[in-house]
Structure formats: C-alpha cells, structure tokens
C-alpha cells in the first residue's frame, strides 16, 4: 500500500504545486494542503478512472475560508453526512460494497450514518443483524473472503471488543495464513472515544487495543472532509481497515468539494504549520489542540499541529519532516497512558528521529482509569486545552 501511495503522491504533488513536504514557512497560515492519492483499480473499476488531485482547505469548525480550493463551490454538510455520502458513492460505484451492523437498515444507524441507505440499496445490501458483534464481524470476514466488500458498523466501538477474536485471529491473519489466497477487504467502523457522560463501557478507545494486530490498518477521521475521503479510501483498500469515528464529532459542519476525492489512508494531515513545536494528535483531541493553539499564539508560540490520521501505520514521513524542523514533540491523545497510540508513537519517534530531538517527547493522555460518568470527573480524565498550553510552555523552555 505504501508503494502505490507514495508514487502517486509524488506525481500529484508536482501537479498541484502543493506545499513541499519539508515545510517552508512562506505558505498562508490558515491554509493546509491535502493531496489526494490516485485511486487503485479496485473491483469493477473500469468506469471509475483516475482520481482528481486536489488541494483543499484545512477543516476547522469555525473556519470561514471554506472551499477556496474547490472549483465549483462545494457543499456544506455534517460529518456523519459526509460518511454517508462516501458510503452512497461507493455503493453506487461498486455493487460488492455492502453494510452490515445493528440497526443500520431502517433505523438508519444509531448516529444516522446509514440513514436512507436501506431504501436506496435494499435490505440485503444494508443488512440489519441480530446482536452478536463477533458473529457479524465474522460474517463480514466470510463475505469478504468470497469477494464482497463489507462495511461493518459497531454501534459503539466498545462493543467491537466482542469482535476482537474475529478481528485479530481472522481479519488480520487470514490473508497471511492462506498464503495470499484469500483477501479481506473489510472496513470496520464505528463511534468511539470519550463522549458526554456515556459511562465507561461506551467510552472506549479501541485504537489502543487493536494497534498490535498485524494485517490491520487503522485510521481516525476528524473532519467532514477527511471522514468522507478516508471512508472511500478504506472501502477501496484491499486490506482490512478499522475507521475510528468519534461520538462527539458527528455534527461538525464543513464545506467539502463537490468533485469526487479520496484521502490517502497512510497520510497525516498538516492542520497548522509552525516552527516551535510539533503537536501530534488525532480525532477529537485535534480540536482541543487547536483551541490551545489560539492561546499559545497569543502567548507568542508557533505550534505546528499535525492530525496523524493514520494510526497504523504512522505517517513517519510527515511527522519526521516536522520534527526535523521544530525539534520538539508533544503528543496529545485520548487513549490511556498505558499502551496507547501515544506510547507507540513515542517509541517510533525515538527509533527514527532521536538525533533531531532537543527535548524529551511529551505525551498527554487520559489516565489509566475507566471513564467516569460524572461530568466533572469525565472532563478531568480527558486532556484539556489548558494542559496542552502548559505542556507546550514546558517543552519550549
């Protein structure tokens, strides 16, 4: 997957006159460039052709300069609608794409991501299942091995712990153990993360648990733009992909291009270029970081904010270029301290970029506690902007 993506990136980068990867500061501050990778020819690809390379605007919820890069004006929608749009487009393009999950059909999904799909594509392609996560994930694996491209929805990521056996022992493994005879182009998605008083069992961060599984790819979306792009890319990928959505981000609004685009699964997103410190984050924490960034800018700091997006594998190219420039790293994650994405990212940075660091890598994570229900306690267990500001001040001393 990396080979195709990187060659496509280089080609597209030349065309779109994108900001070079070793960042020069002379680019408008609020603009960020995302390069869409060329589509691979998936099944039934004859009608699809090559993807259009695009530049697009950074997605911040309050950003006014929307769709400046889009030629035909774009359209505004919420994140869950962006996911749905992606599903509809892919299901129209490829008859093997199907959706499996609880209440995805006529109910439209617990977060309305699949609303209307059953009416459009029928009961069989948008399949309501009984409550057995391990089994409908297994069903997705079996269907994928026979040529379908299922999108399996966990009503909440936490429930997918029941599907861990199928995800680890079968999804991640069967392509390998069968000697490449069977592939598993499945997408497993659902809302996760700490919400608003949903209780411990509904506030899981499964990216920690899944990150070890060989054979799996993991991405986390955070804006309507990347939600749609990542969903499409995940569906087209030949590998099993886990797409992490966040319970609190479904109603984010943004203007996205009218033209078709996909986001590269293995690529991180430059949210805010800067000089002083590299802040690596993903999903909901991106917004806490950007809120802290406002305060930091007022205090005279210039943080570079990268939404890592690809949780497995890490986009060490983008991350590395940033570290080579700033020499200081802060990781802000929602995972727990022990065994989270931050822990792995830290280790990967030390392995690869030790010589470029001027300060120890800092990592802000949730504590190693189950998420409490009481809102004050819940807020205290998630990294807040004030902590991020303090951490940057400490690093930049």
């Amino acid at each position: 997957m990396a080979a195709a993506a990187s060659s496509a990136l280089h080609a597209v980068g030349a065309v779109a006159s994108a900001k070079p990867r070793s960042a020069a500061p002379a680019v408008a501050r609020r603009r960020s460039v995302r390069v869409a990778a060329a589509a691979k020819g998936g099944p039934g690809s004859s009608g699809r052709g090559r993807m259009v390379a695009r530049s697009a605007v950074a997605a911040k919820a309050d950003e006014a300069a929307a769709a400046a890069g889009s030629k035909s004006g774009g359209h505004e929608l919420l994140l869950f609608e962006a996911l749905r749009e992606a599903l509809i487009e892919e299901m129209n393009l490829d008859p093997t794409v199907c959706v499996i999950g609880e209440d995805v059909g006529h109910y439209g999904g617990s977060y309305k991501v699949t609303k209307g799909l059953a009416e459009m594509f029928g009961d069989l392609r948008v399949l309501d299942t009984p409550i057995a996560e391990n089994s409908f994930t297994g069903m997705g694996v079996g269907a994928a091995m026979k040529g379908l491209r299922p999108v399996v929805e966990g009503m909440n990521m936490g429930f997918l712990l029941l599907a861990y056996n199928q995800i680890s022992n079968n999804c991640g493994m069967l392509h390998y153990t069968s000697g490449g005879q069977f592939k598993i182009p499945i997408v497993i998605r659902g809302p996760g993360g700490v919400g608003r008083q949903l209780g411990a069992e509904h506030s899981q961060r499964l990216e920690s648990y899944f990150q070890s599984i060989p054979g799996l790819q993991m991405v986390a979306c955070s804006t309507p733009y990347n939600a749609k792009g990542l969903m499409k890319a995940a569906i087209r990928s030949e590998n099993p992909v886990v797409l992490f959505e966040h319970v609190l981000l479904y109603n984010l609004k943004e203007k996205i291009p009218d033209e078709e685009y996909i986001c590269c699964l293995e690529e991180a997103e430059m949210v805010r270029p800067g000089e002083h410190v590299t802040i690596l984050t993903y999903s909901r924490m991106r917004y806490h970081v950007m809120q802290a960034a406002k305060t930091l800018v007022n205090k005279g700091y210039d943080p570079e904010v990268i939404d890592i997006r690809s949780l497995k594998p890490f986009d060490l190219h983008t991350i590395g270029n940033s570290i080579k420039k700033t020499h200081r790293v802060l990781i802000v994650e929602e995972c727990m301290r022990t065994g989270g994405i931050g822990a792995s990212l830290r280790s990967a940075i030390i392995d690869n970029f030790w010589d470029y660091l001027d300060a120890p890598i800092m990592c802000l994570s949730s504590q190693d506690v189950p998420t409490p229900y009481a809102s004050t306690l819940e807020d205290a267990t998630v990294v807040q902007p004030a902590q991020i500001v303090a951490a940057v001040e400490q690093i930049c001393q």
């Binding site: 997957m1 990396a2 080979a3 195709a4 093997t96 199907c98 059909g105 006529h106 059953a118 009416e119 459009m120 594509f121 029928g122 009961d123 069989l124 392609r125 399949l127 299942t129 009984p130 057995a132 391990n134 089994s135 409908f136 994930t137 297994g138 069903m139 997705g140 694996v141 079996g142 269907a143 994928a144 091995m145 026979k146 040529g147 379908l148 299922p150 056996n165 199928q166 022992n169 079968n170 493994m173 069967l174 392509h175 390998y176 153990t177 069968s178 000697g179 490449g180 005879q181 069977f182 592939k183 060989p214 054979g215 790819q217 990928s237 030949e238 590998n239 293995e266 594998p313 060490l316």
Partner: protein, 480 residues
C-alpha cells in the same frame, strides 16, 4: 378443537406458503421426500418482495428490494390461533394463553431419532430411503475413504518420527469427510474446522499438496505460515483452516450471504465438532443464518469428545440437532459412520438450502477414534477397549466396504492394490516435500498487507542484516 386447529393451521400454512418467494429452480416441486409434510414447498409466481408471517413473527424478506415495497402485504392474522378470544397479542405475534402454569420440560421423553441406511454388516436396512449412488461414485467414495485413512496413518507416523511438528487425524470420521464432500458441488463453499481434510481430498487436493503444507515448504499454498493440517485452497473453494474453534461458522453465514447477493446456485457448508457448539459463534451464526435465510449447511461432527471433555460435560441438551429448532432451523441426526446416510442427508440438505434459501443443521453421530491430535494421548481419559471397539467393530470404512463388496463392485485384490499404491504415493510425496526448500525469509513479511509497507521492509532488512552477521545462528535450509 385440536382437529379444527390443525385443519385451519394447515390451510393457512398452504396459503402462506403460496406467497413465498419462488425457489431458485422455480419448479414448485416438493422439495424432498425426507421432509414429512410439515411445510409445503415454495410455489411459483409470488411477488419478489413481501412481508409474511412465518412461524410466530413478522418476516421481512431479504430480497434486496426497497423496504417500502416490502411493507405492502401484511397478513392480518397468524394461523396458529384458534380464536381471538383465547389469544394475546404481543410483538412477535399472537399466542394462545392457558390458565395452567406448565413449564416446558428440559428434554423430550425420547431422543431424536438417527437416520441410518446401512447396518453393521453393510446391508441396507429394509425400507430405508436413500440417495442412490452409481458404481463409479460409490467406488470413488470408497477409495478416497481408504486414501484418507492411509494418509492419516502415515502423516501421524511422520510426526512421531519428528519429520513434521504436528498432525491430527480423522480416524473414524472418514465417512463424514468423504460422503459429505461427495454430495456437494465444486461451487459450494467449504468452511472447515480442522478435521475435514477428506473434503479437500475429494475436491482434488493431491497427496503432494497435503505433504507440502504439513512440511511448510516453499510449495505450500500457505507459504509455510500455518501449522500442519491448516490447509486452504481458494481454487477448490475450501477456506483456509483457522485454529480458533467455531470462528468459521459466522464466516459461513457471510459466505452464504455473498452467494445470496450474487444469486448463485450454491450453498456454504461449515463443519464443527460437538465442542464447537458451546462457542458463542455457534449460537450467533445459527441465529443469523435463520434470520438472514442464508443457504448454509451447519454440519456438526458429534464425535463424543472435545479433547478430553466428553459430551456429557459439554452440554445437557439432546446432542446438537435439538438446538436447530430453537433457532428456527431444520435439522437431522444421522449415523456419521454410515457413508450412504451421510451422503443422502447432505444431498437433501443442500437442495433445501439452495432452493428454499434456508440453513440446515446436520448432526452426524460418530466417534473420534484417534487422539485429539499428536499432542494428546486419549488413553489418559478414556478406556482403551472403548477406543478399540470403535476402531474395529464400528469402523465406517469396513462397513461401507461390505456394502460395496456386496454389490460385487470391489474385490480383495483391488483392496490390496489400492492400499499399497496409496501408501507408496504418500511415502514418495513425503520424501519430496521433506527435501523441498522452505519459503524464503521474504515470505515472513509478505501478505500481511496487500503491498509490503515501509515498516515491514525495515524489519525485513534488519532481519536480513542479522542473519548475514550471524549465519551460524540461523538454519541453513531457509533461503534468505
């Protein structure tokens, strides 16, 4: 009252059945003689999509049409209720009520009967109905059963000699393996547990291919990544064996779902043991298959033992067949050591699964003559004479041989010729497989993803460098 209820119920059933989806063959003929008249067969000319009451609940048909069209034909009443005054209405349908409190018993007075065709002397039981087999098919079945038996013996010995690391036999289950495979078509998707190599053998996997997998050499289709006996062949529609128990059951439902989407004239069949029925995946897969009307045959090899756990400690139900009804699935119990019974049952099950779009549960009673695997010594937990009894007096191969010989289709001379030929071929295959080089180190890193990512390339380079620096610490027969 009962007679009126029954008459009314059956006419209601007939009406309801007439509105069912047309069968795949659309012939409207009775499905099979096996099924003693409880539900009439599907009829032609029904609308493609409908809701109907089946059993006790509303059924939305998964025909891939929009749900708006599906909401049209609501049948106003459930045919199993004698009169409205004695019924209560709940989600799921109407039920009659009773004033007396009666708990359903935990078990029926008698166990479910077992379908059998051949007696212990290899003669067909008088009055038995079974699917006829031609001489050619019968002999192919017999010789494959023998081949499987010899393959098991020789590979087991090879493990004992340290030439392969692990093996597990299908001793005593040769009829299940071969006869069920013979009743399927090559388009049917097989999802095995691990004690069904005979199905792969039937489909054309060669002895050399079996040996290659067991030795994990570079010709193994699995590229040396799995333990012995974890065979898989995309070409022969046999899913690669995955060790965790019963994970293949939901896969089978998914595979059947794909067949349904593509409207294929084929079914999925999945095998599992008595122990596998305790797994959550068993329960959920059967439930899913029933709700989704997936064409799957759930084939349970009830061989009495899950390693050292006898069925008395595995479940308290009357075996496995009784559970089908709890999910709304038709089931049959057969003598798994009777090749003709297994053949007939799978033949009928397959037809029902495909033409009616429904799952079927087959429980084949048998005995695990061998140890669970080469890592087990079953004499530790069961009497040696019990094992011997089943190995000799209840051997499925001898029983079937008697029938085949009784038809004058097979002779002792042919028997010895077959056995010595297969033995020779196997020993040869093992020799070749053993000498074949192992997969190169690159194959450690390929197929984890569709294309090898940079981190794995780095790890491969690291490994290569380490091997180059310390060649004496690494095996010489693995190409770098």
């Amino acid at each position: 009252m009962a007679a009126l209820w029954l008459a009314r119920a059956s006419s209601q059933l007939a009406r309801r059945a007439a509105r069912r989806l047309p069968g795949r063959h659309g012939s409207g003929e009775p499905t099979s003689p096996w099924f003693l008249g409880a539900v009439p067969p599907p009829a032609l000319g029904s609308p493609a999509v409908e809701t109907s009451r089946r059993g006790f609940c509303s059924v939305r048909r998964f025909a891939g049409e929009s749900s708006a069209a599906a909401a049209v034909d609501e049948e106003p009443e459930n045919g199993f209720v004698a009169s409205d005054q004695q019924a209560v209405d709940f989600p799921g349908g109407k039920v009659s009520f009773v004033a007396e409190m009666n708990f359903l018993p935990d078990s029926m007075k008698e166990r479910i009967n077992c379908y059998l065709v051949l007696d212990d002397d290899g003669r067909t039981i008088s009055g038995s109905r079974f699917q006829e087999v031609s001489k050619e098919l019968a002999l192919k079945m017999y010789s494959e059963m023998v081949t499987l038996q010899i393959m098991d013996t020789i590979f087991y010995e090879a493990q004992r000699q340290g030439r392969i690391s692990f093996y597990l036999t299908s001793n005593g289950e040769e009829a299940i393996n071969i006869a069920s495979a013979a009743a399927l078509s090559m388009d049917d998707i097989v999802l095995p547990q691990y004690r069904e190599p005979g199905v792969l053998l039937w489909r054309g996997f060669t002895l050399q291919e079996f040996a290659n997998q067991c030795f994990g050499n570079k010709l193994d289709y699995g590229k040396g990544r799995q333990m012995p006996i974890h065979y898989g062949s995309n070409r022969l529609n046999y899913f690669t064996v995955s060790s965790p128990i019963a994970t293949q059951l939901p896969h089978a439902v998914g595979a059947a779902y794909s067949l349904k989407m593509n409207k294929k004239d084929a079914c999925a069949i999945t095998y599992f043991g008595d122990g596998g029925t305790s797994e959550g995946d068993f329960h959920a897969a059967l439930n899913f298959a029933a709700v989704m009307e997936a064409p799957v045959i759930f084939f349970c090899r009830n061989n009495g033992w899950a390693i050292s756990t006898p069925t008395t400690e595995q479940f308290r139900s009357d075996g496995v067949v009784i559970r089908g009804q709890a999910y709304g699935i038709r089931g049959i119990r057969v003598d798994g050591n009777d090749a003709l019974a297994v053949y007939s049952a799978v033949h009928a099950a397959r037809e029902m699964a495909i033409t009616e779009g429904r799952p079927i549960l087959v429980e084949a009673l048998t005995y695990r003559v061998g140890h669970h695997s080469t890592s087990d010594d079953s004499t530790k937990y069961r009497p040696v004479d019990e094992i011997e009894h089943w190995r000799t007096a209840r051997d499925p191969i001898s029983r079937y041989r008697k029938w085949v010989q009784g038809n004058d289709w097979w002779s002792d001379a042919e028997e010895s010729e077959l056995r010595s030929r297969v033995r020779k071929e196997l020993l040869q295959a093992i020799q070749v497989a053993e000498r074949m080089p192992k997969p190169p180190v690159t194959e450690l890193f390929t197929d984890v993803y569709d294309k090898i990512p940079s981190n794995l390339r780095e790890q491969e380079q690291l490994l290569r460098d380490t091997i180059m620096k310390h060649p004496v610490d690494y095996p010489t027969d693995v190409p770098v």
